[in-house]
């Protein structure tokens, strides 16, 4: 169906259906996101977060074969470092079979849902306080911050043939917004969305066209009243969903927008926070702590609402993950988690992972990343089951009782930092969301494989060589 005709009531009907909603007020809900040719995504669910077109550590063949991530989020800022001086290569690329250029460029399988937005998740906050203008948004590229024009954004993303497009929003990351700033942001958002919709309507209808999601400001709906009213009264016919940057926006969402799927860029730091947001009606979310945990060498280990085994020896509360660095795993032939069906758990054991981490071998992070995403797949499946059974509130309480409130602290060294994204932050600029791990040992980089951390007695005990003096 087209979106240009004024006769069409709501464009999102065919894509998102709500299967179960709270009987009254705010609550968790079940939905289904279906786009032809893609996995049908039962909601609540999550999207994998890509960096330069790939889930960190997971190469595309492994993604297709050994991970079961149903959809991914791709930030445009990962691809436009040389713009506008030079046309970004991605814009020049034509897929050999006429498929989505973005999908083919990053070798994403056909079945995976592809969501495109402007900023990384989490974004690097711009160093300047007011970095956006009436026409531009400040984006972080591997050559530093650049200005992305609203017009350039909408023209580019329309050509890339994603499944879902997150419309550009004047989102100030990492700052509290005053009322004047909110007013300005609302004006900009209205302008940009109006222009984007007008540009779409001016174009002849395409057989497949990305669904447009509008970006709400990271404040309550009441605090961005004009924007919300504009969306509900004028734009609702032309948008298929909402992108959220703070969960407080969910709490007072007006009824006229509640039929739309909600996509979260709210940076939850724990599974508990994911549950809280699901409880507010979040449909699809993005979860940076999956990769944070992987980089810290932590295999996520939680089951919603509580583990199946009733092992009385278990310490309470239980940890949300297993730190794979300690030597206790060195001869442990069990998987990260008994019964886990992920590629890592069905093919490898803790002893190998511990060895790979200690040896700074990249495969260690690959395997943990696969397991951690699988853990989230199961977590969301259990969340949906719980909503279906109408036990969600009780189950959330049970989960909070059984598990620790935070992920385990990081003890080991992470992988060698490759992403520019960690460096382009301005000096003294605090991160909005610090990683949920306390770093005890900041040194990173590839370790010397030599015997710098074993003494002679250890080497002899290991049978490597014998002491002679």
């Amino acid at each position: 169906m087209g979106i240009e005709g004024e006769n069409h009531s709501q464009v999102s009907d065919d894509m998102f259906s709500i299967l179960k909603s709270p009987s009254a007020g705010i609550g968790p809900r079940l939905g289904r996101l279906s786009i032809p040719g893609r996995h049908t995504i039962e909601t609540p669910h999550y999207l994998g977060i890509t960096s330069r077109g790939a889930i960190p550590h997971i190469s595309q063949d492994t993604f297709a074969r050994d991970a079961h991530i149903q959809g991914v989020y791709v930030p445009l800022e990962d691809f436009i470092e040389r713009a506008p001086e030079r046309v970004p290569p991605l814009y020049l690329y034509k897929a050999p079979d006429g498929a989505s250029p973005l999908r083919r460029y990053i070798a994403l399988p056909d079945q995976s849902l592809l969501v495109l937005g402007a900023r990384r998740c989490p974004p690097v906050a711009a160093p300047a306080a007011n970095s956006n203008t009436d026409q531009t948004v400040s984006v972080s590229t591997n050559v530093g911050f650049k200005l992305l024009h609203a017009q350039d954004y909408r023209e580019a993303v329309e050509k890339l043939d994603a499944d879902i497009l997150v419309a550009l929003g004047d989102i100030q990351y990492g700052r509290t917004l005053g009322s004047k700033r909110i007013t300005k942001a609302v004006d900009r958002n209205i302008d940009w969305l109006q222009d984007h919709i007008a540009a779409r309507n001016a174009q002849p209808s395409k057989s497949t066209r990305a669904k447009l999601f509008a970006s709400l400001l990271p404040v309550s709906c009441d605090n961005q009243k004009y924007w919300v009213e504009y969306l509900a009264d004028d734009a609702v016919k032309h948008i298929s969903g909402l992108a959220l940057y703070d969960s407080c926006t969910l709490a007072d969402m007006p009824q006229q927008l509640r039929h739309l799927p909600v996509l979260g860029f709210t940076l939850p730091e724990t599974p508990h926070e994911v549950l809280r947001q699901v409880g507010l009606g979040m449909d699809v979310t993005t979860i940076p702590f999956i990769t944070y945990a992987t980089d810290a060498g932590i295999a996520l280990d939680f089951t919603f609402p509580s583990p199946e085994s009733n092992d009385s020896n278990e310490v309470s509360p239980r940890a949300l993950g297993v730190d794979m660095w300690p030597e206790v795993h060195a001869t442990d032939l069990s998987p990260f988690k008994e019964g886990c069906q992920c590629y890592a758990c069905t093919n490898h054991h803790r002893a190998f992972i511990q060895h790979l981490l200690a040896a700074k071998e990249m495969l260690g992070w690959v395997l943990i990343q696969i397991h951690n995403h699988h853990t989230m797949d199961l977590f969301f499946a259990a969340i949906r089951e719980s909503i279906r059974n109408e036990t969600f509130d009780r189950d959330v309480k049970e989960f909070a009782r059984v598990y620790e409130s935070q992920l385990p602290a990081k003890t080991g060294k992470g992988p060698r930092v490759r992403g520019y994204q960690f460096k382009s932050e301005g000096p003294g600029e605090p991160k909005k969301n610090t990683a949920p791990f306390q770093v005890r040992d900041k040194s990173s980089g590839e370790g010397n494989p030599l015997m710098n951390d074993a003494n002679a007695q250890q080497l002899e005990n290991q049978g490597f060589a014998e002491k002679t003096g």
Partner: protein, 408 residues
């Protein structure tokens, strides 16, 4: 003299090149059969640079290397014993070859010193003097459980001017081979290969071949070619040694991995090669192709939407319509040095390139067309400019009846 059959290795000769000394064979090992000649990727610490065993298998690899030195340090012998060896550690169902650990010790540790008992070194941690003996090395390799183990040898650079030292190292390596054979606990499931030493001195090499071939190990390696020596000298050593080896045993030239070097060594009668180069060079953004190495981090590839290698059928280069990923040079440029997956993708291509080249080599040998294969390969590599052909290769191949300068 018919060699004694080895319980853990059977060598079936499939074909001999009618012109050169090249051979095609099948080698049956405890974890499956492999086709010779072959290239073996190096999974130093029980993993090949970020690739899962499944990805490695998909490149066609059925035999990879682990380094004893590294595994001896991490995870260490106790852990290897507890886990049940390196196959179980890394969930690799195919074959593993391990080196002795001596070469890396001498090359990585400044203070290592070779004595008759073994390699002496100071523990960098506390300075205690320590000793790695042939018996330690074999015991470690027995714990690793590698299908092919290498003897501890006295390695010194072929470029050493000290002939007396080279001679001492050669004879010591023979004595150490005897100690390794005596120490080997599992000859029924693990194969111990000897390593021919003797520097660039052909008489020493011949003497070493005579002594070691008499020890009748299941396979034979040519060691001590560090890469620093002149290629002509290198070729003479390989040529001399293979002429003294029995036909029905695999011959392994250690540490050789550049396509042109491998192709010449195959013509000189060698069967097995290993090198870290394909994966190491991938980390720096280099793609191995028929026309040489291309650094995809160069800005000229930013807008290059061709596959990494037009002729390649690896998972990375094949189009989605052919069941592949259809990765472009531009995407490698986009990720190289910024996300590790960029290096993973190139590693897959590079390892596949070398394994596939060896498959083609084997096919050419079986069809009796290896000389033509060599000519075509060099022609492509240098875009038909024979002036650029390396003289050492031209000379070495002339010695086995192939003249690259003359077209068929």
């Amino acid at each position: 003299m018919a060699p004694r059959p080895s319980p853990a290795l059977t060598f079936d000769l499939a074909a001999k090149c009618p012109t050169t000394k090249a051979r095609a064979a099948t080698m049956h090992l405890p974890h499956g059969s492999v086709q010779l000649p072959m290239f073996m990727p190096v999974a130093t610490q029980a993993s090949l640079k970020g690739l899962t065993p499944k990805q490695l298998e998909e490149t066609g690899c059925k035999l990879c290397l682990n380094n004893t030195y590294h595994l001896g340090l991490k995870p260490g012998q106790k852990t290897l014993d507890a886990v049940g060896g390196a196959h179980k550690l890394q969930s690799w169902p195919y074959n593993i070859l391990t080196d002795s650990g001596g070469f890396q010790m001498v090359s990585l540790l400044k203070l290592a010193q070779v004595t008759e008992e073994g390699v002496r070194f100071l523990s960098p941690h506390d300075g205690s003097p320590m000793l790695l003996t042939p018996e330690h090395s074999i015991s470690l390799q027995n714990s690793i459980g590698s299908d092919i183990m290498m003897q501890l040898d006295d390695v010194i650079a072929t470029t050493s001017p000290d002939l007396a030292r080279i001679k001492e190292a050669m004879y010591r390596s023979i004595r150490w081979l005897d100690r390794c054979i005596a120490a080997h606990q599992k000859p029924e499931s693990q194969n111990l290969f000897c390593i021919i030493q003797g520097g660039l001195d052909l008489e020493l090499r011949k003497e070493c071949c005579k002594e070691m071939v008499a020890r009748d190990t299941p396979g034979i390696a040519i060691g001590g070619l560090s890469g620093g020596e002149a290629k002509t000298e290198f070729c003479k050593v390989v040529d001399t040694c293979t002429s003294l080896f029995p036909t029905h045993k695999p011959r392994y030239v250690m540490g050789v991995g550049y396509p042109e070097d491998i192709l010449v060594c195959v013509a000189l009668g060698a069967d097995m090669f290993d090198c870290v180069w394909p994966t190491r060079t991938a980390r720096f953004g280099n793609a191995i192709t028929d026309t040489g190495e291309h650094n995809l981090r160069h800005a000229k590839f930013a807008d290059d939407f061709g596959p990494v290698d037009e002729n390649c059928k690896c998972m990375i280069c094949r189009l989605p319509s052919e069941g592949g990923l259809g990765i472009t040079r531009a995407y490698i440029y986009h990720t190289a040095a910024k996300e590790t997956v960029g290096a993973h993708l190139l590693s897959i291509h590079n390892v596949h390139y070398l394994l596939d080249m060896m498959r083609q080599v084997r096919e050419a040998i079986i069809e009796g067309k290896y000389p033509g294969f060599l000519k075509a390969y060099y022609w492509r590599r240098y875009a038909g400019d024979k002036e650029k052909y390396p003289s050492w290769a031209v000379e070495a191949l002339r010695g086995v009846g192939v003249d690259l300068m003359i077209d068929d």
